[in-house]
Symmetry: C2
Subunit: 196 residues, 2 copies
């Protein structure tokens, strides 16, 4: 093998890509930018990835996979639906606060994926959403899954807003604020407008 069997360069590229894509957008980052960010030149990248789109694909699939996997675990480990919701909220908030770049890329760059990659990401996202919907269905029986899905998407918007208000508040403060706001939004007395 070469110098090191570790994909250390590989993961460095993935990290830089997430950072740069978040900052300037997929199309605003060139191969040379990516190379420079990890201390090499642009074309070196092709030793690790088949191309720029594949690189974006790997970033997005990884994010979606981590979220979905974490969601399933948290729900499985929870004592009851209340605990599951709390865990989901805390888990998502931690992710959003720890990896703002990934969050940003995640819902900005879906359109630049290969069809195949987009399908994979969508499937993972759907699974994650259904995890939330399942928990909420227990807490709010009688509310249609369609409404719950919309509510979950809205709360994701709320939690994922952190990259926009970066640095205004110390992290634990921000986490508590988001937790209480998210919980309130999901358990609003009328989260379900009466089914017409």
């Amino acid at each position: 093998m070469g110098p090191r069997p570790t994909g250390e360069r590989r993961t460095a590229i993935l990290g830089a890509a997430a950072e740069l894509f978040a900052e300037r957008g997929y199309r605003g980052v060139s191969i040379d930018d990516l190379g420079r960010a990890v201390g090499t030149t642009g074309p070196a990248l092709y030793r690790h990835f088949p191309g720029k789109r594949a690189l974006l694909g790997e970033v997005l699939v990884d994010i979606s996979d981590r979220l979905a996997r974490q969601g399933a675990e948290l729900v499985a480990d929870a004592a009851d639906a209340d605990g599951a919701l709390e865990s989901l909220l805390r888990g998502h908030i931690a992710f959003a606060l720890d990896e703002p770049a990934l969050i940003t890329v995640h819902d900005r760059e879906l359109g630049n994926l290969t069809d195949a990659d987009r399908r994979r990401v969508r499937r993972l996202q759907r699974g994650y959403v259904e995890e939330w919907v399942g928990v909420l269905a227990e807490l709010r029986p009688g509310v249609s899954p369609t409404v719950l899905r919309a509510a979950v998407h809205a709360v994701f918007g709320l939690l994922n807003s952190t990259p926009h208000s970066r640095g205004d508040l110390p992290r634990p403060h921000m986490a508590e604020l988001l937790l209480s706001m998210g919980r309130a939004a999901l358990t609003a007395p009328d989260t379900a407008p009466s089914p017409v």
Copy 2:
């Protein structure tokens, strides 16, 4: 003058630009795409705008201006803080539901603006946020403006999430859902984590 003194072609271009930028991103739309979308060729655009960036600038400044202006009016016309908050929520929700493309462009493409345009947009946005913060400060005295600002940004994330869950719910349903979620989030018993 030429055919018509109305800037009808001009506004058509602005509309198409908002639509296309929302769909594919500023960098994903070419001058020729824009021309084609309004039934001309690409370069015809330069008869109406100095360039592509100026076009984006006009779109973004217009959005920010409309929101800020609408916000100020609604607050001025409200009987009390409760009514003002309700109006702000309903106004923002209507905007988000009526113009999903504008909402999408609004928080995706700030980075592609001229420095001057970005400053203008930022100023308008800040004014709009302060309108909300002012109302909330009345409703929740004792909560620091910093926390309120973060909460307002988070609620914007919630309300602006509609482009992501497009079409899942009939519009009035969606509006009511967002209203109750937004209000709940902003008036959560502990929107203010005790100032440490």
